[in-house]
């Protein structure tokens, strides 16, 4: 009897450590991949193409980030929108509109609202970084891909019922993120393509966000340039004072 019990506890412990290990691995994989675009700090120029049945719009912008907490976006073109900026500090977000010289804090109720008319939500810009803290992770793998299934923890406030995070094993780059609602229905899809080598890292340079509940809508983000740890990205960039500065 004793032997059976100890055997059972051994098996139980082994299983437990197995799951913990797989969780740990999943967290590490996601952290690695998420750091891909950021490094310690980063600076990028992006082209965002927004397509809807009614209009198509192209924006050029500059993005700076430091760690996972700080990010700063500034629209460079078209002329009409030039200078519109977004600052993200931890989980808070502000937009600055130079034409009316006004900083507007994005209220929690607007977090799921579209960012500058694109298919990205304000929440995407803020929360993307906290995936490993707010979700329970399960790792599945094939020869080429890791698929990490993220299910929100009980206390997590989110609209997603589940997120699939697909990662290319060879280059350790993201391939796709699929977002499901509470009924397990696929709501939107983000795909990562055009893998290029930048500063010694393999990076997908094109992101396509496609909401499946809105026909004909699509947002493409293309990395025109990407620099890691540039000297001009420091703590001063991520301040409300800088948000309001004319350039």
């Amino acid at each position: 009897m004793k032997r059976i019990l100890s055997l059972a506890s051994c098996i139980f412990l082994a299983l437990l450590s197995q799951t913990c290990l797989s969780d740990q691995r999943a967290i590490k994989i996601i952290d690695d991949v998420e750091n891909l675009y950021r490094g310690e700090s980063s600076k990028a120029t992006l082209t965002m193409i927004i397509e809807t049945p009614q209009y198509q719009r192209t924006m050029k912008m500059e993005a700076k980030s430091k760690g996972t907490e700080n990010a700063f976006y500034r629209i460079l073109a078209p002329k009409k929108d030039r200078g519109i900026s977004t600052l993200k500090l931890d989980e808070e977000m502000w937009n600055f509109f130079p034409k009316i010289n006004k900083v507007i804090k994005v209220p929690p109720s607007m977090m799921m609202g579209s960012w500058m008319g694109s298919d990205f939500t304000n929440d995407d810009l803020v929360k993307q970084t906290t995936l490993t803290e707010e979700y329970d992770l399960t790792l599945n793998e094939t020869d080429e891909l890791y698929t990490i299934v993220l299910v929100p923890k009980q206390q997590t406030i989110t609209v997603w019922g589940k997120i699939d995070y697909v990662i290319n094993k060879q280059h350790m780059v993201p391939v796709a993120q699929n977002f499901y609602d509470d009924d397990d229905e696929l709501i939107r899809k983000m795909e990562f393509t055009e893998i290029r080598e930048i500063a010694g890292r393999m990076v997908p340079t094109s992101l396509t966000m496609k909401p499946l509940n809105k026909e004909g809508h699509k947002t493409i983000v293309i990395y025109d340039t990407l620099e890691f740890d540039p000297p001009d990205v420091n703590q001063k960039v991520f301040t409300l004072r800088n948000l309001k500065s004319r350039f």
Partner: protein, 406 residues
């Protein structure tokens, strides 16, 4: 001819009875005509309020914009459309508009507003907007020396943002291209009062609104004022054939809720008028039946000397018709001055009723053929209806019995 002579003689033979019948009929007529006039008057006033205030008689939109307004449901070539409308002889004026919800900011506060872009010159001719300016100057499509456009705001906005004429008004909205629309305007005028429909509207010159919303010359709505307001349905239908790619609706559809309520109300009013007429004619029926009963011996004699039942029925009908025509003329003499007074003077309300910035001071009537002819038609119809039982009774009577009765 003999019958007519007989009828006239019969009417004047029993003067008191005829007078009483005629009086009850003319009284009924006057009452009906006044009720018709006042009810028509108040409905037409309400219609005029709606159509002249902002709706117009006919509106043009793209697709189902009227039911489900969306920023992108636009009329893309308003210049060509405007030209077509300017050349249409049935149209008095028309105006072009764009709409969008927005957030308005002052230095300290913010509130939700409806942005309405209007063509300043055309709007002035088509709607009451210019008359609703309570202070400041009506908008113009020119920018001021600092290159800001002027805006007119409802009193609700002025109060909640605590701004007045000359102050800056910041607007933020979503542009038609998905961008964040944001701009500064200078408050040029305040529109309406605190009860107005426009209390949370911001009126911008059309060009400024199109620029703000990145709409590049596109518009959402055309409001048309017709020369003949009663032709709105027919006009809308014919214009729809001419412009099949757009949706053209008369004001009855545009202000559907109002129109339905008004129709229901009008039907209620008509039911009440019907009851008035009915009561009047129960009295008339009574008098006519009485006169037939009183003249039983007379009809007996007529039948005895060979008069056919048909002739007796015709005689009674003719008498009643003559009597009601006379009552109509008497009624008309009384009704015309009263209705004219209602139409041209009206009852001054102790408290003026405000309809979205338009003050209604008088409770007025309507003077038209409809007001005079409809009660006449009702009276004739009922008078002839009451002849039937009386006539049948007189026609069926047996001479021996009739002459034997007292």
């Amino acid at each position: 001819m003999l019958l007519l002579k007989l009828a006239i003689r019969n009417i004047f033979r029993q003067r008191r009875r005829s007078l009483l019948t005629a009086l009850s009929m003319s009284g009924g007529y006057v009452l009906c005509a006044i009720s018709f006039s006042v009810s028509e008057g108040s409905y037409n006033n309400a219609i005029r309020f709606f159509t002249l205030d902002h709706t117009g008689h006919v509106q043009i939109h793209k697709g189902n914009y009227l039911r489900r307004p969306k920023l992108h449901k636009t009329i893309d070539d308003p210049a060509a459309l405007s030209e077509t409308l300017d050349n249409n002889d049935n149209i008095e004026h028309h105006t072009l508009r764009v709409f969008a919800p927005a957030l308005a900011y002052s230095d300290t506060d913010n509130t939700q507003v409806n942005v309405i872009g209007v063509d300043p010159t055309r709007e002035k001719r088509t709607s009451r907007l210019a008359k609703k300016v309570t202070s400041g100057n009506y908008i113009s499509d020119k920018v001021n020396p600092d290159s800001y456009y002027s805006a007119m705001i409802g009193t609700g906005i002025a109060t909640s943002l605590n701004i007045s004429i000359g102050d800056e008004l910041i607007l933020i909205s979503q542009g038609a291209d998905g961008s964040v629309a944001n701009d500064i305007y200078i408050v040029g005028a305040i529109v309406g009062n605190k009860d107005s429909l426009d209390k949370s509207s911001v009126f911008l010159p059309l060009d400024a609104a199109q620029e703000f919303l990145s709409m590049q010359g596109k518009i959402h709505e055309v409001a048309i004022l017709l020369k003949d307001e009663s032709k709105s349905r027919e006009f809308a239908a014919s214009l729809q054939k001419q412009l099949p790619e757009l949706s053209i609706d008369p004001w009855q559809i545009v202000e559907e809720t109002f129109y339905m309520t008004m129709q229901a109300d009008q039907q209620g009013m008509q039911a009440m008028l019907f009851i008035i007429i009915f009561i009047v004619f129960i009295g008339v029926l009574n008098t006519i039946l009485m006169s037939v009963l009183e003249r039983t011996r007379e009809f007996g004699v007529l039948k005895a000397i060979g008069t056919r039942p048909k002739t007796i029925v015709s005689l009674i009908t003719l008498e009643t018709a003559l009597l009601s025509m006379m009552s109509f003329f008497v009624g008309l003499v009384f009704a015309i001055p009263i209705i004219a007074w209602f139409a041209f003077v009206g009852i001054e309300l102790p408290e003026p009723v405000d309809f979205g910035g338009v003050q209604l001071r008088f409770f007025t009537g309507e003077i038209s053929t409809y007001v005079f002819a409809t009660p006449l038609a009702w009276i004739m119809f009922f008078a002839l209806l009451v002849c039937i039982p009386a006539g049948i009774r007189a026609g069926r009577i047996l001479p021996t019995q009739a002459m034997g009765s007292h």
